[in-house]
Amino acid sequence: MLKHFRSLFRVLKSRRAFEQGMSEELRFHIEQYTDDLVHSGVPPQEAARRARIEFGSFNSVQEECREARGLNPFDELLRQLRHAARLLWKTPKFTATALVTLAVCLGANLTIFAVVDSILLRPLPFPEAGRLVTIFNTYPKAGVDRDGSSIANYYERRGRIPAFAGVAIYRYGTAVLGEAGSTEREQIARVSPDFFSTLGASLAMGRSFTDEETTPQTDKVVILTDAYWRQHFHADPHVIGRQLRVDGLWNTVAGVLPPGFRFLSSEARLYFPFSSSPEERSPLQRHSGGNSKHMIARLKPGSTLAQAQAQIDAQNATLEVDDPQAKMMADAGFRSVVAPLHADHVASIRPALLWMQAGAFALLLIGAVNLTNLLLIRASGRAKEIAVRQALGANWMHVVSEAIVETTLLTLAGGLLGLAAGAGGIRLLSAFGTDRLPLGSHISFDARLAGVAVLGAVVLGLVLAVPIAWFNLRGHLANAIQSETRGGMPGRAAQSVRHGFIVAQIALALVLLAGAGLLGLSLERAMAISPGFRADHVLTGQISAPWSKYPDWPARLAFNARLLKEVSRLPGVSAAGVVNNVPLSGNNGKSAATVKGHVLLPSESPRGHYAYGVDGDYFTAMGFSLREGRFLTAEDSRRSSRVCVVDEDFARYYWPQASALGQRLFASSDVTTDADSFTVVGVVSAVKQAGLTDQTAQGAIYYPYALRTDDKLFLVLRTSGQPDSLAPALEKLVRQIDPELPVNDLRSMDTRIADSLVAQRSPALLAGIFSVIALLLIAVGTYGVLSYAVAQRRREIGVRMALGARPEQIRGQFLALAIRLLVVGEILGSVGAWVTARAMRTLLFEVPPLPVATFAAAAGVIALVSLAACVLPSHRAARISPMEALAEQ
């Protein structure tokens, strides 16, 4: 077999040389024979004649030789390709319509598939990445679904879970690199020594961290990413041991990572040891994961996720025996969950992505149905030709292969155009924010995608060929030839197939439109939600004051006071405040709090709440409304008064009947002495910390900044003009106060809210685009089929009009046909839309279970488009002149 392909390939490589060589060889034979005959005494003319006769037909010998070399199928294929190309060239309108349809439908699918492939399908870039897992703590009954893992968890699990080959802990952060005057803030990660070995990543140079480097006194070592090494050390091969200033302290370079290293969606450019104190490692800190510390592990070969989970559960149970917090944690529903790392990382966007792929696929189906109809119409135009050829002996294989060649040629060309469209589509998607998705920066347009495009095009070509081949083969031979004089009446079956396809198309489009409508409705509902504050005219920016320079709260308060004083002097600033976490920042960590006098019901557990430290006029700057009492002020912070403000959600939960003012609470999970308590002095509007669509009334507590300092702080300014216009002045001012402190993440609150809705907006926009394309396809499809029906029935219409039918009757007949198809399609589509809406529920926000208005609107738009598309053909039908129609033939 292989030999044959080799031989065939040699010939195909130089086909012309083969043909020339063959003629030359055969001619040589005849001439030699002629010469020999002449030598034996035959007269030259007679010799030539005899040589030719004995040789036989030159052409048929050539043909047999080609067949002997296995060339026939190829010659046939080439012939069919040329034939198909010629036919397509001769019908430019059809070809253009088909190519545009294919380019758009395949392009949309490729675009979405590129995203799905990069994010969901391709394994993480580590050896045997399928064995990587993440472990997080959950306290569902306390309203905390996910709380990372604690340092204590790490030290307790390291080397003690048999199913794990390695366990590591990490957290993201930022650091100020360089010396005063030329500092830069860089994304960093702090990782335990076994982080890289757990991932299965080896360093390009140097070494990983050691256990000795995990205390705050000894952690001044750094591992650089390849990019940082190239940019800041000019790819110095002797970089190991060189010094780098980080947050004002000297660190030694221990290693350099290989070029492709990328951990999940991390932007970290430098890695530091995850150092911790003995207190942080103690069992008392077992439950202080706090969403910033994350654990990964690698399953041993042969171990399963279920085994790992069972071992973690067993260990937790053992540890609980002498844990004083055990009862409370059990009440909170505490559990440690082992989940596959990749799946867990992309879980939030998986449904949306899959739905988008489904939407794109629906579009492709609509396009394919459209094409099938157009191809069927074309085929009926050629029915006679094909019937005659079959009668003359063309076999069924031939008819089938001809259909396949034609459709595949079309879909391959469309696929190439689709590839180009897909490349553009990916660029468009990144404008929608796909690169901010988990693993979004991995999205690539490469050979793999091109392969998928070609494969998809070929499969589509084969599928499209089925109805065409069926139509051409169906025993309508006699029919088609007989119908010579009637211009080839379409077979009833072919007509019902075409109508069935129109119905399917309308139904699919309705599902797509209804889906898009629901996403749009959901986005609208989400945007209508108040975030709990007046978001307009608020500028926010993040400043990380390093502990090394601002070691205690008086130093931090002094910094805040100076910052706020100077900022208030900026023109256009009406209020300024400081908070350690702004709403919608993406950090939704919750802290335990206990209310004095609140008795837990048997089913109730201590709850986690959002906790903030505020300074200056934070509430006024952010635009919170005061419900009761007063706001916290800079004065509270300066005096570190033990007072706090809670939000409505919090107040309603704990004191549904009474006033919250004067009540006492503790910033811990149990009640201690009154000296540690905070007195509630005010109640403010409820905040949507996690996102506008977050419906859990989590409750929030605001403490004076002095009592809840953090290395991060957000500066919040209420402005009279455009908030963004103040950004440059703000950056300059902060540099004047401390040249080492850059301002990060400078955004207005309006922008933050808009950005937080990207998960709702992008699918809605995309589905909207798909819907518009689907409508265009429907218009083309309906128009094409109706026009064809009119053209086919010209004679019939002519006769009827000659017999006295009025133009309105003719027009009405075609409109009635269109309406019948539309109604059936929409009924089927409504059922599909209803099923889809139910399946999409997780993606939708506050959408009614039976969104009649949305469905009706979608159905109305489709009705409008498809009826508009049949106005022209039916009008044309009504204007057929009986004389002309009958005179044709």
């Binding site: 031989s7 060889e25 040589f28 034979h29 030699q32 004995e54 037909s57 047999e64 002997a68 070399r69």
Partner: protein
């Protein structure tokens, strides 16, 4: 020219392999050589020679190369490949077995039954 025999199906390939095994030949040469070694007893239809040559080349039993003929013309010369040599050996053995079996069968007299 003596009495000629019709070729049995499949024997043309074997004859071509045999002819080419003696020395490289062009197509016309193959024809002449077969007639020569069969003592002009076998008649090869000229037109069927080339499809057979092309088939054998396709199976890589013979290889073709352009060379120069006795009368200084460009001609395509065929040689036997290693596969072809093996095939020739097998087919010759097979043919001989068949031939001797046929001969023995046809020689049988009533007494031997």
């Amino acid at each position: 020219m003596g009495k000629t025999a019709e070729l049995l199906p499949g024997t043309l390939d074997l004859l071509i392999l045999k002819a080419v095994s003696l020395r490289p030949l062009h197509g016309y040469g193959v024809l002449q050589r077969i007639q020569q070694i069969s003592g002009d007893a076998l008649e090869i239809p000229q037109g069927s020679l080339y499809p057979a040559l092309y088939r054998l080349e396709h199976q890589e039993l013979i290889a073709a190369d352009w060379g120069v003929s006795e009368n200084n013309r460009r001609a395509k010369y065929y040689t036997l490949t290693a596969d072809g040599r093996r095939r020739l050996r097998e087919e010759t053995a097979g043919w001989n077995r068949l031939a001797s079996a046929m001969a023995a069968a046809l020689k049988t007299t009533p007494e031997e039954v």
